[in-house]
């Protein structure tokens, strides 16, 4: 069993020209069997298809960015802009059509298993066995990541307590919990395995203001105390502004801006105005919409 190569400690995530298309015209089966590949379009140039065929979609279109170790990096975009697809690509749940992603220097295609050990993902829908209790779900998740039952149990009590979960709910079926409580358990499960790169796909959607604040504090603490790097997608501009060191705005699968929230706000300020991140979002995605309409 050869020793694995060392990790790149500075670049937590390096995404280069990554693409994911759906419904692209495919070569006939016999040509594919002989090794013919699907022709991939250039950035922003989807092929036209015959009427009645499904229109091709560029879910993620030549996206590149870098996240440094310890950073909280936000991805903002309207519904259907490609945020979740991007997270699925990085999570190894989808295979990219083109481009690459390296997590601490490891290519996600070349050493998928090692990458999986470094990451954890919290999706917009809390993915649980609904009949099982939070504790049973957490033990299952922890064991998959190599954390033994007794260790997981101690950590689970600690994390669930700090996330404000009632002790009486630890052993009740998840289906009896509110959406917000379920999402807290999902976050607890991710923290339980101590990931070095945490992928959060709209983690606070559906949470009340207090719960949102608790989750935010926990995310910051995870970064500060556990040396974790965090990629977060959100619709909540206030949250992105408060949490993120840098943000990227994605629209129609392509990145339209990447910078710190302050720099993005400065970039659209005029005549002494003090724009918010929401103004930046509206300007960037709105202009894009107008450009699409006039094309």
């Amino acid at each position: 069993m050869p020793k694995p190569p060392p990790l790149d400690r500075q670049n937590a995530l390096l995404v280069t020209e990554i693409c994911k298309f759906f419904h692209l015209p495919q070569p006939p089966l016999w040509k594919r069997l002989l090794g013919a590949k699907m022709a991939l379009p250039q950035k922003g140039a989807l092929p036209t298809v015959a009427p009645g065929d499904k229109a091709p979609v560029a879910a993620v279109d030549h996206v590149s960015f870098r996240i440094g170790r310890g950073e909280i990096f936000g991805v903002l975009g309207p519904n259907g802009s490609g945020k979740s697809t991007l997270i699925r690509l990085i999570s190894t749940l989808l295979k990219a059509d083109k481009g690459s992603a390296r997590i601490f220097g490891i290519d996600i295609e070349d050493d998928e298993m090692r990458v999986k050990q470094l990451i954890s993902r919290v999706s917009v829908d809390a993915a649980f066995f609904k009949k099982l209790s939070p504790m049973e779900n957490l033990l299952y998740g922890a064991r998959l990541y190599g954390v033994t039952g007794p260790v997981a149990r101690v950590k689970a009590y600690e994390i669930m307590g700090r996330l404000g979960l009632k002790r009486s709910s630890y052993n009740e079926p998840m289906e009896e919990m509110s959406r917000g409580m379920q999402q807290k358990v999902a976050i607890a499960r991710a923290f339980l395995t101590s990931p070095v790169l945490l992928l959060l796909d709209e983690p606070t959607t559906g949470l009340d203001p207090r719960s949102k604040r608790e989750v935010r504090a926990f995310i910051e603490e995870l970064r500060d105390s556990h040396d974790a790097t965090i990629l977060i997608t959100t619709h909540d501009m206030e949250e992105a502004d408060a949490l993120c060191d840098r943000v990227a705005v994605i629209h129609n699968g392509a990145l339209v801006a990447t910078d710190s929230p302050e720099a993005l706000k400065r970039s659209i300020a005029d005549n002494g105005s003090r724009p918010t991140l929401e103004d930046v979002f509206m300007r960037l995605t709105g202009e894009q919409l107008l450009a699409d309409d006039s094309a």
Binding site: R88, L93, M113, F129, R143, Y145
Partner: protein, 284 residues
């Protein structure tokens, strides 16, 4: 101790812990869905009894004394019912490795965990074997309350060896069937029912395969269930010795040597396809 050995030990320890994760999770699910377990127990018992009572009613059906051993036919049907119950439990639970995750909405979580796919499948298989054995034993005990079971001539160990040999090939076929819900998120689980029903039809669960049309008999030769049933009946009804049972065990092992690696290989291909086409996504 050299580093390579240490890494090997750590890897084995991790694999064992992950296997246990699936077993423990499935056990917790079985406990939480206990109501369904009760329903399935009564369904399996009543459907089994319904079949076995056909033997008891043969004389009343024909209106005259039958020219065969009713006790033998009763035992023949009981063995068919119980062996089928066990094998179908293995097949269903193994083939539902993906279907369960789809129903619960956990497929993406489980498949992005750092678990080797064979470890995942071993965990699911270990649980399905244990579940199949215990549930079949309970139904067997319940059936014994209704019928007089004559096992005085039975070779129980031999029957156990045949069933064990057959379990491996059924696991392989279950893994093959489990890729259907990967490829067809909405209809895949129902497709596995068709596979199960086909085995029931061609494998001689309630009748010898010699009564089937010739083309079906040719297909039955490829079904591991056929050998398990023939071997188990030979051991339990005729008391066949282990040396006589090899004619059933060897084809079962050969089928297992084909279906297990083929199942793992096909599963890997299907998982890659699902990741390319976006079919892992939770909803359809």
């Amino acid at each position: 101790m050299p580093n390579t050995i240490l890494r090997g030990i750590n890897s084995a320890r991790l694999n064992a812990l992950q296997t246990y994760a699936f077993i423990a999770r499935n056990w917790h699910l079985t406990k939480r869905y206990w109501g369904w377990e009760v329903v399935w127990f009564f369904y399996a018992l009543t459907s089994g009894l319904s079949v076995v009572f056909i033997a008891q009613g043969a004389e009343a059906l024909t209106g005259s004394a039958v020219g065969f051993d009713v006790q033998y036919l009763t035992m023949y049907l009981i063995i068919g019912t119980l062996v089928w119950r066990y094998l179908s439990a293995i097949f269903i639970l193994t083939s539902e490795v993906i279907a369960w995750e789809r129903w619960e909405g956990t497929i993406e979580y489980t498949l992005m965990a750092p678990v080797r796919r064979w470890v995942h499948l071993v965990g699911q298989t270990a649980y399905s074997l244990t579940y199949g054995m215990i549930s079949t034993l309970i139904i067997g005990i319940a059936m014994a309350l209704f019928f007089e079971l004559d096992l005085s001539n039975a070779n129980m160990l031999g029957a156990g060896a045949v069933i064990l040999g057959g379990s491996l090939s059924l696991v392989g076929i279950g893994i093959l069937a489990s890729i259907l819900p990967l490829l067809y998120p909405e209809r895949g689980a129902q497709m596995t029912n068709v596979v199960e029903a086909s085995f029931l039809l061609i494998s001689g669960v309630y009748y010898p395969i010699s009564v089937l049309p010739e083309w079906m008999q040719a297909v039955a030769v490829l079904s591991p269930v056929t050998y398990v049933l023939d071997g188990t009946r030979a051991a339990l009804l005729d008391g066949a010795a282990l040396s006589e049972l090899w004619q059933y065990i060897l084809p079962l092992l050969a089928l297992g040597c084909v279906t297990l690696p083929l199942g793992l290989f096909a599963f890997r291909l299907a998982e890659n396809y699902a990741k390319r086409s976006g079919k892992l996504k939770r909803v359809g």
